[in-house]
Amino acid sequence: MREGSFRNLSGCAVSAMISKEGRRFSGADIIRSIRVMHDRSNGLGGGFAAYGIYPEYQDYYAFHVFYDNMAARRECEAFLERHFDIINLSKIPTRKIPQITDEPLIWRYFVAPLPTKLAESQLDEREFVARCVFRINVQLDGCYVFSSGKNMGVFKAVGFPEDVGVFYRLDEYEGYAFTAHGRYPTNTPGWWGGAHPFALLDYSVVHNGEISSYDANRRSMEMHGYRCTLQTDTEVITYMIDYLNRKKGLTMEEICSVIAAPFWDTIERMEPAERQRAEYLRNAFSSCLITGPFSIIVGFEGGMLALNDRLKLRSMVVGEKDDMVYIASEEAAIRAIQPELERLYAPKGGEGVLIQVKEGAGQCR
């Protein structure tokens, strides 16, 4: 049975760190952080998203792809060649370790859409890339693009997250932001694509919890052209972020007012202008409201958003030190890499914590 053929529920651990200065640092720390929460995972999935790691290719989309076999790879590469200019391709470097087994073929491509194909499609560049990713993932058997943003990459596998980090040599990458996820799925066929983070373009999501609004959200996203092939919360949340931010032009703050919209009682007590805005967002995008417990960390180009559900049914703490901001399910996961915090707090339910990297630093453009 493949991931996506049934609804997959899971509990989890999340951790993240970001430099507001856009300073690049090694991925070693995020592995140490997520290791602390070993008991929140069960060895059936772990992964990382790393931002700012490919400065030399910052103008190209970095596709990370799992292949079941060589035939699948040939088919996918033929597709890529028809649609993209492939600047560089290689296996993603890994370490053989006993904790991680049964790996698929793992390849990386730096690509730019072929100008003729792009013009023919009448789409903007990012939509073109997103649609190509969907086509590969839905139509090509044995191929799965699990990372498709610029100057960022997702690294994930079946295993405990700290082992996954070692496996992918994450300590050898430098980026301005990392997120990490340890998974506790209640059932999984052990497919690597099903591990988290889940990503589309430069949006990546790590998530802890199980949302009760899932099918309402999924069916809304599918109406807007997304295909939820994995049936996981993380997948649908990623699509909602992409839809609301990229397609509808909502800011990350506005997105918080949609997916963790304030209760109507709260909205009624707001100042008139704020109330109208909150009413509008909640009403206009009511199908994107998420209910049930969740804590999510969204990575995107130049920043990060952390958000709890409205009732704060999941734990999440934020620590700050100098230019660094740390977010994790448990305080210990932050203290493990930064014992000396200037500030530590637990964000309120439904109130997003948005961290943006200083303009011009660490971003591709």
Partner: protein, 499 residues
């Protein structure tokens, strides 16, 4: 006469507690109880419709209505009902006329669907102590977001209806039901923060004060439709069809066209008020668009326009066409929906179950990417809060209740509305009878019903770990089927229990 003899369906049993007070004689509008000159009570059961009015008001509880034991030879094919109906038609040459919803034994899909609850992997929520939101907005959602020069959102939505709970009282015209019934519905809608619907008979001037909680209906007969009427309500509903009688128009028997009803409808007293099935200015979907926009033009684009249609075979394509006609809300009325009068054959044999219609319309609108252009109201026999939850999880934004509201007002489902002799003062214009419904009590009972259902909806939502109703809408994973075929499950878009 003898050839037309039919033994009555019900008999009256009077116990020895009877004190011969004659109350039953006064209460029965069908002349079933007769007080003889020598102070004895006789029974003429031919008129009995099992409305239970006499039993309810008998001071000694001496009356029981029982099904007749009068036997016909058993026949699984020629039911007693079939024989009776043929006899009636042979005697009169008339079209059989019935009322209320389809009583026949077709599948009730709501009864084959079960609701989910949380265990361990996510929590249920206690609705008594934690926020649990049922507020619902009906209306089109914006396609693009507009911002001012500073990048602030301009929070302008197309006109919306705001409901405290996803339940509305469905269209029942003044005429088909009484002034007091309308007063009860209007006051209850106001008290509950929901809406009632005038039906196609216009709006009595006394009820204009409830305008903010009123949906005014425009049907093919256009009874009582004028600019002030259109502007008086919070929304306008175009009635294209009705689940109880798809393809058939409204028919208010002349017996109910008296006094204020005649004035409100502007038709002569005592003549039947006919609204034909089609709007004779709508023969095609582009004509519907014309009517939708003429109503919007006449009301300055301030009111959402609802288009109500009966659930028929081709409902998905119809709904798609309506969604593209400029309508803000589509009301889909299933084949079990009630009516004050409908030809029996139409009521019992035309249309499809609303569960299937709703599920396929919701999915079709999503497939076409236009689900956000309209809200969906589901109606046609919503019998409990569980039906409400199931309808919303299948994809409805809200439900209309008609029959359930009438039962709250005292209706005993005797299905005799078309006679105009409703013993409970609801579906009648006879002043002797209409005064039996006290609007103070009626309004309170409606408030009680909807309040109770809302509590139950919250309990079920809490069990699912959902604390806002919009997260339940279309959330079909919260449903499982039992005893359904794969085809039925596919249409409903749900899995079988155990899957």
């Amino acid at each position: 006469m003898s050839i037309d003899f039919q033994y009555p369906e019900f008999e009256v049993e009077r116990s020895e507690d009877c004190v011969y007070c004659g109350r039953c004689v006064k209460e029965c509008p069908n002349g079933v109880h007769i007080l003889t000159e020598d102070k004895k009570l006789r029974t003429r059961p031919q008129g009995c419709v099992a409305c239970h009015r006499c039993a309810a008001f008998c001071p000694t509880g001496a009356i029981q209505i029982v099904r007749s034991r009068h036997a016909s030879r058993a026949n699984a094919n020629w039911s007693e009902q079939a024989v009776t109906e043929i006899t009636k038609q042979a005697a009169t040459g008339g079209v059989l006329l019935s009322s209320m919803g389809n009583p026949e034994n077709y599948p009730v899909y709501f009864d084959r669907i079960l609701i989910n609850a949380s265990q361990v992997t996510n929590p249920s929520i206690d609705p008594l102590r934690e926020p649990m939101e049922t507020r619902t907005f009906l209306g089109a959602k914006p396609d693009t977001i507009h911002r001012d020069a500073n990048g602030n959102i301009l929070p302008q939505l197309p006109p919306q209806l705001s409901l405290s709970t996803p339940i509305l009282f469905s269209a029942m015209s003044y005429g088909s039901i009484s002034y007091n019934a309308h007063a009860s519905l209007a006051r209850a809608a106001e008290a509950l923060g929901i809406f009632y619907n005038t039906g196609e008979g216009g709006l009595h001037e006394h009820f204009y004060q409830y305008g903010p909680n009123t949906i005014v209906q425009v049907a093919s007969g256009r009874f009582g439709v004028h600019k002030a009427y259109l502007n008086s309500g919070a929304a306008i509903e175009i009635k294209m069809g009705q689940g109880a009688k798809p393809g058939i128009g409204g028919h208010l028997p002349g017996a109910k066209i008296v006094g204020d009803v005649s004035r409100t409808r502007m038709v002569p007293e005592g003549t039947d008020a006919i609204s034909p099935a089609p709007h004779h200015d709508i023969y095609s979907i582009e004509d519907l668009r014309q009517l939708v926009y003429s109503l919007k033009e006449a009301t300055g684009y301030q009111k959402p326009v609802i288009v109500k249609v009966a659930a028929v075979h081709n409902i998905t394509a119809i709904a798609s066409g309506i969604a593209r006609s400029g309508a803000d809300i589509i009301a889909i009325d299933g084949f079990r929906g009630g009516t004050g009068a409908a030809p029996t054959r139409i009521r019992d044999h035309v249309g499809i179950p609303v569960e299937l219609a709703l599920a396929s319309v919701d999915q079709r609108l999503r497939d076409e990417g236009i689900r956000d252009r309209v809200s969906l109201i589901c109606s046609g026999s919503i019998r409990s809060s569980a039906d409400v939850v199931k309808a919303i999880a299948l994809g409805a934004d809200a439900v209309y209740i008609g029959t359930a509201a009438l039962i709250a007002l005292g209706c005993h489902l005797c299905r005799s509305c078309q006679t105009g002799r409703c013993a409970w003062g609801i579906a009648t214009q006879n002043p002797e009878l209409t005064r039996r419904l006290d609007p103070d009590e009626g309004y309170q009972r409606l408030v009680n019903l909807v309040t109770a259902w809302t509590h139950e909806i919250k309990e079920m939502m809490g069990g699912m770990g959902i604390n806002s109703i919009e997260a339940l809408r279309g959330n079909r994973l919260m449903l499982r089927g039992v005893g359904l075929t794969q085809k039925e499950l596919d249409i409903l878009g749900i899995r079988h229990a155990g899957e």
